[in-house]
Symmetry: C2
Amino acid sequence: MNFCSACGAPLQLSTPPGDDRPRHVCPACNRVHYQNPRIITGTLPVYRDRVLLCKRAIEPRRGYWTLPAGFLEMGESLAEGAIRETWEEAGAEVDIEGLYAVYDIVSIGQVYVFFRAALRRPQWKPGAESAEVRLFAAAEVPWKRLAFPVIHVVLSQYWTDRERGEFPLHNQRIDESHWSLVQA
Amino acid sequence: MNFCSACGAPLQLSTPPGDDRPRHVCPACNRVHYQNPRIITGTLPVYRDRVLLCKRAIEPRRGYWTLPAGFLEMGESLAEGAIRETWEEAGAEVDIEGLYAVYDIVSIGQVYVFFRAALRRPQWKPGAESAEVRLFAAAEVPWKRLAFPVIHVVLSQYWTDRERGEFPLHNQRIDESHWSLVQA
């Protein structure tokens, strides 16, 4: 961040009065430009005893499997964003069953939110960012070929909870050490 | 958003290839400047049968009561941000008991996250943004003098859940109509 997005002047790094950390401040118009974590919202789309995964057609992690998820947009709720991403990436229609997991990925300034969702019918179509979309039973999940550690964490928590028949909310931090869960 | 924060050139509003909505795009360096909802994280600090509220010392809603909460910063988890805000606004130390509520306030591009938290000791001190901090039993809550509809929603859900002895996660949308809950 080099220039003020409001007036175009070069920014300075300084701690505003009453604040406790350096921010990008505009010396011309005095605006403070905050940087905050962003939200990624997605679903765990289930059909009977199987979960729908998407093989990534784009970098990073092209060729690895993931759940449909993406940045929350202005003008939509978390659930609406999750439904939209599931449609865009997997061409699948889902009904939301509940907020299931909230993960802090502090190192990259992201908060991941997953909803449990029911596939309306066994129908899907890879979107522009997906090379392939298919259902996986628990025994078929390509654990080492998952795109991101967070996908491994949410899927393994899901299968464990499913056996118990209870789906409590999960909230935890995901850090660099979780990369050992998948093929780097 | 008028200028590119990376190179300083005037921005244009256009839909990037493969995208489905207009974004602020830089014609000079081709960067796309996304705008995404921001996260506000806070606690519901409980001591025995009472909840700690802060009277706002600043606008908007100066003089109205709220829960300690604020924008999630880079480099912290949701729970860490909630603990920090509770310390900054109420001078109170809490232990997190669990993620309790996630609210979509779509009209202003905010996602509110609240944790149930236990006050370590009956001790607090108003921070710079608070004029007063005190504990309220259920019967004492100043319902019409709450600062924001979301505070009314989370507090009423909390007291209902507390009577039942169960605290399921709440996720709902808060919209303009919820302003009828508090004194506008």
